[in-house]
Symmetry: C2
Subunit: 113 residues, 2 copies
DNA sequence: TCCTATACCTTACATTACAATGTATATCGC
DNA sequence: GCGATATACATTGTAATGTAAGGTATAGGA
């Protein structure tokens, strides 16, 4: 078992990650879990118990919009798409992330020998 | 008032930021607040009500060690230094951060037009 | 006298990941 | 048929944590 990323970092990255994934088009929970793993080269593995509440909150807050769909095999899926409000939040989150990342990079690189 | 960074991101970055700052030598709470602001070019402003509990937890967990010191003016300060355990945690946090950052960069850059 | 800066601390509140558990269908090997 | 795995969604209890607000104290400038 790979040691998971510390939870505060999961919490910080979940919203921008999900919103960003949805800029590529509609997706659904189970697929997003696999996309996160793929995007990170296997480094990140989210639990479904974490992701589904995240999706519900994002929908509640109007950042994404969901619709139920039945597949040919009879499975039900809830597809989500990014809303305009979600695009704005993604831009804000990216900006925040960049500011924090830059500060960390500075403190990692300089300030000491 | 500048809009603050979302709180999950503060939570995710506080430990690596503090530990990283302390690689430059001893420091104390009030100074760390100013260093964070300086390191980020004014983008990040932490509240003291957030930082002091963070320092207490880091000390409790053995990542940093504190000592009280009186200045010439009669002010009391608690200086903290990085422990070996703290150095190990910083390395781990940096590794985690890099993995998440890389995944975010990938999802921001690709996956969509 | 009043305000700002320095320097520490705590509490009430809301939020959130994690682990565990539950539901249901499809597919594959045997 | 049968059991295991994958797909696909969901909820609950617990612990942890930032925020906002408030508190204590000293020093210096207007």
């Amino acid at each position: 078992m790979k040691k998971p990323v510390y939870k505060e970092l999961v919490a910080a990255s979940s919203r921008p990650m999900v919103l960003s994934i949805l800029t590529g088009g509609e997706s659904y929970g189970y697929e997003i879990l696999k996309q996160v793993k793929l995007l990170s080269g296997g480094e990140l593995e989210w639990s479904d118990g974490m992701l589904y509440p995240v999706l519900h909150r994002l929908e509640r807050d109007g950042f994404i919009a969901g619709r139920w769909q039945l597949t040919d095999e009879g499975r039900r899926r809830k597809y989500y798409r990014l809303t305009d409000r979600g695009k704005g939040q993604l831009a804000s989150d990216r900006s925040n992330w960049s500011a924090v990342h830059a500060a960390l990079q500075t403190s990692w690189g300089g300030g000491h020998v």
